[in-house]
């Protein structure tokens, strides 16, 4: 059975095409819940109304489905809590010149 850690690892291959950093290091993934045949990824985006919104959530869905084809995947996009830069990993901060 797939683990939350495996899901998080596969989400590292989902990269914000504008910023060029994966969504886990950007701190966009808030939670991963695996129950029965369902994987729920709760995540946000850096800006409400981000035009990449549909593409990134679609990417998450495709990537997780590829990891565990038998499971349903639900991407729960939320705006609360608001994303802030301190949610980024140290590597991501460095890459952005901080």
């Amino acid at each position: 059975m797939v683990t939350e850690e495996q899901v998080m690892n596969t989400l590292r291959t989902v990269i914000d095409p504008e910023i060029g950093i994966n969504i886990v290091d950007l701190g966009l993934v808030y939670d991963v819940i695996i129950e029965e045949a369902m994987i729920t990824v709760t995540m946000t985006l850096t800006t409400p109304g981000c035009p990449m919104h549909g593409s990134i959530t679609g990417w998450v869905e495709n990537q997780v489905k590829a990891l565990e084809p038998g499971y349903e995947v639900l991407v729960n996009l939320v705006w609360e809590p608001v994303w802030t830069p301190d949610k980024m990993s140290e590597e991501a901060k460095q890459e952005l010149g901080q």
Binding site: C50, G54, E80
Partner: protein, 429 residues
């Protein structure tokens, strides 16, 4: 955690937006090429056929054309509404292109009869645009400051059109009770400050934080900007309907200048809170453009005191003023933002459905950044060279500088078409 309500399922038509963008890119190359060919005309009094033709290629064929395309792309995204009619956007495009081509040729030949006809077509296209965007925007559920600026810009575009068509008729069959050239100042400032700059400012509040990853800044100054600029434009509009200059001119100009300065302060607040400390070429262009805005604002204040200036000196300053607004402030921000917007437009169209299924490129991989940096240096040096050429009346400097601006526009065109022609990648990201 609250699930999102945001839909984002109203992607504007790639075909429509792309058509406006490609025409605008070609328009920029045509403009810079014609500037090079007519470099010896970029001197003396500004009201002359070739300069009027060149100015309208810049304002309509390059700047307004790209704003049309950008609005068709951004209004649905930023305000979460569907474009009212793509058919109208399509019809508008062809009417505008045909009208503009005829209008520019009429200016070059100074055929006032044809000018009135083609200006009417351009006006019709603009009225279609205003109608289309207005009908889209009345369905907006969650209004924001960008929407307010865009709606106001539409109003000023309407006033610009009215003033423009009145002037075209007046050239053919004079009926103005005021001086045509004084009214031209109103037409130009409604277009520059009310239409183009208002759009730039409104869109900047949304796009600059998005691209620079800025968070936690106040947008309060943006409301003051709005108040000052509208008050200033109102005074100028009243002022230029009377034959004699009054105290309204310096006050109106000062109000707009204060509005511009507060806008720059707003940009400073946004940039200060940015997470992406390293500026890419798109944002670097944008910042230089705002520097140009500062310089042209200072020149604008200076020009209020035109009657104290020696005529030859005044002519040069007016040309430099218009040049810095069109090629400095407006063109640099457009070039910069196109390095951000066009990759997104093409990526969304070509790769959005392929994410997670096959490797897709990053936006910055869709053009050659080194070329963009070279283009940035050439364009800015050549801009400075052209200003020097106008200031010192040196034809050789003018030809060399406009030649280099043309070269930079070709590099820009090359990069833009690379983006449009981007294909998928085979081996990973």
């Amino acid at each position: 955690m609250q699930p999102t309500q945001i839909a984002g399922k109203m992607p504007p038509s790639y075909k429509i937006v792309g058509k406006y963008f490609v025409s605008s890119i070609l328009g920029f190359a045509a403009l810079t090429f014609l500037m090079f060919l007519n470099a010896d005309s970029m001197k003396g009094y500004h009201f002359q056929p070739k300069l009027l033709g060149l100015t309208h290629i810049a304002t309509l064929g390059w700047i307004t054309m790209i704003i049309f395309g950008a609005m068709f792309q951004l209004v649905p995204v930023v305000l979460q509404v569907k474009l009212f009619s793509e058919k109208l956007a399509e019809a508008q495009f062809w009417i505008f292109l045909f009208g503009l081509t005829g209008m520019v040729l009429s200016f070059f030949k100074f055929d006032t009869f044809l000018l009135a006809i083609f200006a009417s077509l351009v006006s019709l296209a603009m009225l279609i645009f205003i109608f289309n965007i207005t009908m889209s925007m009345i369905k907006v559920k969650e209004w924001n400051i960008t929407g307010t600026y865009i709606a106001t810009a539409l109003f000023y575009l309407f006033l610009t059109v009215v003033a423009g068509i009145m002037m075209a008729m007046n050239l053919y069959d004079p009926y103005f009770k005021t001086n045509h050239l004084e009214y031209l100042k109103l037409h130009a400032h409604l277009a520059f400050v009310g239409w183009v700059s208002m759009v730039i400012m409104g869109v900047s509040y949304k796009l600059i934080p998005m691209f620079s990853l800025s968070h936690g800044f106040s947008l309060k100054p943006a409301k003051w900007v709005f108040g000052f600029i509208n008050a200033g434009l109102l005074l100028l509009t009243v002022e230029y309907h009377f034959p004699e200059r009054t105290i309204m001119l310096p006050i109106g100009t000062l109000l707009i200048a204060v509005g511009n300065l507060i806008f720059l302060y707003q940009v400073y607040l946004i940039m200060k809170s940015r997470v992406r400390k390293i500026l890419d070429v798109g944002l670097t262009y944008t910042m230089v453009s705002f520097g140009m805005m500062f310089i042209s604002t200072a020149l604008g204040i200076f020009l209020v005191f035109e009657k104290f200036l020696e005529p030859g000196y005044l002519e040069k300053l007016v040309l430099i003023y218009g040049y810095l607004i069109l090629l400095g402030y407006f063109s640099l921000i457009i070039v910069g933002q196109m390095y951000k917007i066009v990759p997104f437009l093409v990526w969304f169209h070509k790769f959005s459905a392929k994410v997670g299924l096959e490797p897709v490129p990053m936006l910055k991989d869709m053009y050659d950044e080194n070329y963009a940096k070279i283009e940035f240096v050439i364009m800015n040096c050549a801009l400075a060279g052209t200003v020097a050429g106008i200031a010192f009346g040196n034809q050789t400097v003018m030809y060399i500088s406009t030649g280099f601006i043309f070269l930079s526009s070709l590099i820009f065109m090359k990069n833009m078409f690379s983006i449009f022609l981007t294909k998928g990648i085979k081996n990973g990201n």
